[in-house]
Point group: D2
Chain length 346, copies 4
């Protein structure tokens, strides 16, 4: 059994990780921490855990915890993990960070977009970006995984084959993304007060969302640098992300041309489902699962391709992918503990 610790278990991503790990057949949870709910039983924080676990939240002592577990999941707001994690800790345990501190390769980019200084820039080089489908081999070797953001996971999986195969004009990419409110977490803000975000939709952080450089980094390579527009929107629903992406095709590709490329990238990927032509992703069909559904349409009038991708933001966009990374790190079947069928209607 893999011994796991969760730092920041009382946030939504931490709680979802708890749910997945308690049910995981090859993992047991050794310890959990929460700053807000120190010494509280977990079922007092989340009533769904009534009768499920008697675990209580501890205060954070990362170095101590690292000695007791095989893998440490960190689910904290950005800027905290990078100030506590050390090379020494990484000798004691593997780390999967669900936060943003180890996703970007460039310290400067991180500091520009996040507005804080990075506490352990020396660790950035050894960190591996944990987008499992695209980075599996590097993940296997790693001890420090930067688990991707929710919008980024969906955006990258949706666009990567087209970009990598140089089928689109990479200066033309626009990502218009829509997320359920759980993506904003459990902390109280006026914008996520029920009566303020129910029955309305808005865009936010226009031309300024921090997932932008993360998507650009993953889509760029030595040959092409991708700069794109990314606009997130808040949708009155609990879970789910839908990405609508636009790009100019470099040639007059047909649906089948492009489908063939996507098949090549994803046909062996359990968690990517390419939908049949004419059927488009909806967040309801992936809810409660680790799947990413993808499809696209070619708009011949404009020469554009319009791509759609959908995930459950708390699973494939956070806790599920973290478990997938753990499975890869420890040589388990990649879908262990995360092969749930999406639930509907829920």
């Amino acid at each position: 059994m893999i011994k796991a610790g969760i730092i920041g278990a009382s946030g939504y991503a931490g709680q979802e990780l708890m749910r997945l790990l308690v049910q995981h057949p090859e993992c047991e949870i050794e310890a959990i921490t929460s700053k807000t709910y120190k010494d509280k039983s977990f079922h007092q924080i989340y009533g769904n855990f009534m009768g499920i676990t008697s675990k209580s939240c501890q205060a954070l002592d990362m170095a101590h915890m690292a000695k007791e577990v095989d893998v440490l999941f960190i689910a904290l707001p950005h800027g905290i993990a990078s100030n506590q994690l050390t090379a020494s800790i990484l000798k004691d345990t593997k780390v999967i960070d669900l936060g943003a501190d180890y996703r970007l390769k460039s310290q400067a980019t991180y500091e520009k977009w996040y507005g804080v200084s990075h506490g352990s820039p020396d660790l950035l080089k050894q960190a591996v970006y944990g987008l499992c489908e695209l980075n599996r081999d590097a993940i296997k070797q790693s001890t420090l995984i930067g688990n991707p953001g929710c919008y980024t996971t969906c955006s990258i999986l949706t666009l990567a084959p087209l970009v990598k195969e140089k089928m689109i004009d990479v200066t033309s990419i626009i990502i218009d993304a829509k997320s359920g409110v759980s993506g904003a977490g459990r902390a109280l803000h006026l914008g996520t007060h029920f009566t303020e975000c129910n029955e309305t939709i808005k865009a936010y952080k226009i031309a300024a969302h921090r997932h932008t450089p993360e998507i650009e980094q993953a889509l760029s390579d030595d040959e092409q640098e991708v700069t794109l527009s990314f606009t997130p929107h808040l949708v009155p629903m609990n879970r789910g992300i839908l990405v609508t992406a636009y790009a100019k095709l470099l040639k007059g590709y047909t649906y089948d041309d492009i489908k063939a490329v996507y098949e090549q990238y994803y046909h062996e990927e359990k968690f990517v489902r390419l939908l049949p032509q004419g059927i488009f992703p909806e967040t309801k069909w992936v809810k409660g699962s680790n799947y990413c559904d993808i499809n696209f349409e070619i708009d011949e009038r404009t020469g554009r391709i319009i791509l759609l991708g959908a995930i459950d933001n708390l699973i494939k966009g956070a806790a599920g992918q973290a478990v997938q990374n753990m499975n890869i790190l420890f040589g388990l079947e990649e879908d262990t503990g995360i092969n749930m069928i999406p639930a509907f209607p829920i």
Copy 2:
């Protein structure tokens, strides 16, 4: 492996049963039927099943199907099963009927409340009411299970100990129940059109809902006949039932007196969670699970007890309890395949 068939797989209860059985470690689905979607692949009907199953829906031939399976789940509107099921079929397979045809013992009561004649009244005697926690021994011996309704499961579990122990005035019981819209099924009606039931609440079938006699039957016994008021309400959410029940206490019982009785009835029941004093059921804490959460408060000003119960209407109120019944029938651990932790926020 238990071989199962599902008749009426394309309704919401049927689909939820598919989801649970596909993931059940001791069961395999042999055949499924749908009148509306005959010959359609299941994933064309429900996009969550994309990549999960290649099963298609057949036309219904109950007698033939019965020969091929160990257990037949029937998820049809009332009045159909009773016209097709026969003693002969019951020699070939066990039957768990998620509909209403085999829940009421009295043919007259059935015909009065449902307004149709019962097609196989001779089978009523051998049918067992499948409320697992209260009827486990009888279920074990049975070949025909009337799987309880959603409102009834929640109402009965919430009230049974008090009634059975004669602690309340049984003429004083009022059940005010609230359900998510999935309880109304997938058939199109103006009342369940999004813009007609979103952002509003209403009562319906006031003093006339068909689950009333089912609750009364389960709470009544040789010594006391229960007649009660039951009012269902439609709540703008996908899933969940909350029951608020009121009754006059026969004596000045304390919270602890009554808690002791509930503990006695349910402390060994995995799927009934008695909450700590002052913490009351909310549907969100049971969503996606087979749990029924229960608690109560004594109103000393009025001498009443107010009880709250919550379930996931499609799981404990339908497909989950059906699987629980199957597990009992076939001697499996009762929680096999249905021990999911409730998911939140979802």
Copy 3:
């Protein structure tokens, strides 16, 4: 033109009052206050007022404000108004308090249920309970109106004729009420965070809600003292209250017997709509209006009557009724500025 002031304009009731008064043909807003948003333009607090008003929120100086206005609306949490209002202020202006401080006649009852001492118990005697349909004559003469609570307005209008005419057993009354989330106000709490109250339903303040004594006071009189059970529930929608009330009929009254009584009480009331037999109130049909819809069903099996009432909690349950009170106080047509047709679907 009536000059009005609003104290506490930045809460939901205050904002709704702003909306109604800005559109009111016989009233102009002289000044508004907000503690949280002092010196902010109102449209910065509520974006719907962009381009509508240039008013800014002042700090509270009740005595000064009273000299400048004809009517002062107070929309503050309980316990504040009673510590600031004085007999001297009431010489300068009429006061309509949307809070709870002047609703209960008994200082002791107020202090027991609200847990604070009342700051101006001497004013309680002159305060008039502003349920317009039942108290119109007293309101006309008054200078201090205790504007009723949302649950109470709906509960009292629904039950009053039956109680006053002594047709029900007053010890048997149960009110099971359901409210949209705007009733909880704009202050941030975990329970009204979107992902915590969306897609779920719960009861709260069971046997302990402060609207209970207010309902009991209004239904009681010298001849009968009413003690009842009241259970509020939080429903995932922005607006609306539905009341489901239960009581034992004292005799075998028919639907028409009771309808005749309700007609007698309400047939001249513009804002009470008695629905046709078999059609029951739904909150969607009153949203955006000052109406209270009412109907009932007799349950012959149990000898009970089940009554339904619905209002818009921010209009008839708060700001709309406050304007109705103002109209009465100043001799205007009672529906001036509040005769909006309910909007649907919204």
Copy 4:
């Protein structure tokens, strides 16, 4: 008083028109029609009208109705109006068509996108496109108004100044639009069944929505032909449209440069609100009103401008704009009967 008739009063747009016209001080409703609800009282179809109107729905006889009214509003699915309307009818009454039949100038374009032949192509020339802010002078002279679609109204108002002033590359325009479910009408479909569209988001009619040519026509002129990508999405809320539009700026314009142009176009327009820099449209702030809120951000990294626009789809996107057109046609103040402050939270 203007005498008005409504053809198709029982759809959502027709009903909203009823609500606005019943409250309109200069208009009275002479007759209404409905195919589905012939001879039904309007309050039986829409419970909000209980006690408001005693009007019943007639069968449709357009020629007869035209003789009795000053203005005829047609709110029918596309393809019906064009087969019934004649030059002769237009001699008897002015017509405002809320449907799609008289919006496109080109018969060929109409027939290509709508897939039906146009029944009165000779009338297309005299029809005026009723986008009030851009077409006011032509509307004044007209007898036949093609009232714009909901998505189109919002898209055109948001983009027009930029396009007309030639500040963007017109081949680069992408419109990603999001609508509440009321836009889909009251007819029953699986996609608008509550449990199928609640808690989920999807795109639909990708690269194929019929509002596309309508937007292109309004933005194009003799000098530039606009071809753009338009993707509508269904959002789980009753009302509201948010448009997110993307385009390449032709030069390095600043926020103030562009704001000056928008001010020039809209500063005298009551129903267009240009929000302060950094504050972006949300549908909640326009709900229940005829406003269109607009703002934008310049993304210097990509050289794009991102524009946001929001309207209430049933008001500015349908019935409200129809009334605005009527006011223009009959020389009334343009905001008569439609100057409601947006309601919140609702």
